[in-house]
Symmetry: C2
Subunit: 359 residues, 2 copies
């Protein structure tokens, strides 16, 4: 039974229309039966890495590690790069999870918090003993982003501290200068329009000096997915374990497809659609933007306060063929969150705006 509604949810979200065809092609070629320790698989791995690096302009200084999701990325980052002190800018649920991850791993993280819906104040001072600065560049729970320029400025003030950014719902849209960013990570069920089950960690090879130091100091840096092991296999175009091959194969095909369109075009379209949401809904009665300061408003996750009409709005959208996300946590029943990813067409975006205006 075909389902014809379109998912404008924050992820999992609408898939790229070719996902099914790409999977069937791989099955026909028996690519999910081949050994993950041979040339044929290495071609899939390096195909994926090459296309992803081209799409996101990732330099040779950085490696790509495949994980089971963004949450594993958080765990492995703390485990492998932090002896004791990470500093976390927290203004929503996913930044909070990164901070909690550090605590659960028995570290002593610093908390730099802002209210939900607000931007992070990246001009604050960071404690001298901080080893890693963690920023959720685009907070999926609230729709607040940290502008890349402010992130670079923070790095310029602390060039010797490592910096990790969560780009789960801003990639591949967000433009990153990897000369200034040590670590970034995302999962594929958001802007890459894929089924869930794969996380991608982009990391500057310089970071591994710290991992090696920690290993020599007898820290627990994890087992198969510690960064020294992951790097060893990365250089072989392989994974540490039998990986999610369909995920890696599909990411290759999706990146190839997006490179065909061109990342600058994707960015322009994303910004145009975001502008439509923010300009058209500005003065609509009963709708207000959760993120009030314009410069912190996410281009990819639009969060609207809609109050008690939330249920009716969601139902109306469904009846017109669109599924959006509810608010997160305590805003579950009073907000809607609309994803604005590359596969979300401008015509649909306009229709959603029209529906919202009429309520």
């Amino acid at each position: 039974m075909k389902q014809n509604k379109k998912y404008f949810t924050c992820g999992p979200t609408e898939l790229y229309p070719d996902i099914g065809r790409w999977l069937q092609e791989a099955i026909d070629q028996k690519l999910f039966s081949i050994t993950h320790r041979g040339k044929e698989y290495e071609n899939i791995f390096s195909g994926c890495v090459t296309e992803l690096k081209a799409l996101m302009n990732i330099p040779e200084t950085h490696s790509i590690f495949f994980m089971s999701g963004a949450t594993e990325c958080m765990e492995r980052i703390i485990e492998n790069l932090v002896e004791e002190k990470s500093a976390h800018f927290v203004n929503g649920a996913f930044a909070e999870r990164f901070y909690t991850t550090a605590k659960e791993l028995k570290k002593e993280p610093y908390l730099l918090s802002a209210d939900w819906g607000k931007g992070n104040d990246l001009s604050v001072d960071i404690s001298k003993d901080t080893e890693l600065i963690c920023i959720t560049q685009n907070e999926t729970s609230t729709g607040a982003l940290s502008p890349m320029e402010e992130i670079y400025a923070l790095k310029d003030r602390y060039p010797d501290k490592m910096m990790a950014i969560d780009i789960v719902t801003s990639s591949p849209y967000v433009k990153i200068d990897f000369k200034k960013i040590d670590i970034a990570f995302f999962s594929v069920q958001k802007g890459f329009g894929m089924p869930a089950g794969l996380g991608v960690l982009i990391i500057n090879n310089k970071c591994f000096e710290k991992t090696l130091e920690m290993k020599e100091m007898n820290f627990n840096i994890g087992t198969y997915n510690n960064f020294l092991n992951a790097y060893k296999y990365y250089t072989l175009n392989q994974n540490t374990i039998t990986p999610n091959v369909p995920g890696i194969y599909l990411l290759w095909k999706v990146c190839e497809h997006l490179n065909g369109i061109g990342i600058e075009k994707i960015r322009k379209e994303t910004e145009e659609k975001a502008s439509l949401y923010y300009s058209e809904l500005k003065n609509v009665n009963g709708i207000e933007f959760f993120v009030q300061e314009e410069k912190y408003r996410s281009k990819t996750i639009i969060v609207l306060n809609v109050g008690e009409k939330q249920k009716a709005i969601k139902e109306k959208l469904i009846s017109e063929g669109y599924i959006v996300s509810s608010g997160y946590g305590k805003f579950k029943d009073t907000q809607i969150r609309i994803a604005n990813f590359p596969m979300h067409g401008v015509e649909d975006c306009k229709k959603i705006i029209e529906i919202l205006k009429k309520i």
Copy 2:
């Protein structure tokens, strides 16, 4: 381009023929776009758990946790259940990995080793302070199994010690009395004929008392996938993180399919095919069984010493349409390993035997 060779490899291996169709059906229903925190997904989760429990006769005392693979299962088991002392029966590469995992996590595991190709001596005494006994029930690298009766006898001698068995390449064939087994785990790219990327951990809820104790003693039990968190979500028919939804969906469909055939029929067929390999190849010149003692010979992984003819044999098999695995580690160039999983038909098995006899 269709590929028509059949994979008799130890995993990844031949897929079930319906995998592509099942994936497309899920995509048509947009099941990979839905939220993993809602009723619709919970139905997939509980469908999968119900069919798997029926197939493997897993009682209500045991929970199912989905991981990224068997290697993650090893890591999480040690992290959550061992303060200091696990005991590992090691007679091959995967048992060795389990043991190494414990060392990497800064535990002090006991090593009970046997030569590759030999069975484990499960009649030995286990140190009093052992918290968890780990057995690779079917060692994929060598084709040596530990008979379940011997595992039960060991458990009967040490009823208060937890026991974990690696059934990566023996499930779903292996018949397990879960009253005697606390923990078992496997990955889906072997006997379940699926693409890689999903591990399944079956665990007695009693084990969580130990995890709770360790948490209270301030041990590092990991973050999102610690067993207390995993159990909480399991009872909700959800996962700790956005999971590999295609993997869980396909496992549901594969288990449903296997339950349709009936597990007893699958066991009988597996044993018949194994008997063919072991009886027909017994006196063939130039071939000997790596596992000499009959009772330790795996029914699902047939390992043959073939010496310097290995390359020619593999090539001949390929020319006839069959791909088998090489030996593992130092036996890479002198052994072949043939998988005997439920999707491997008896006619193909007979043809492989005929080809091997002629060499």
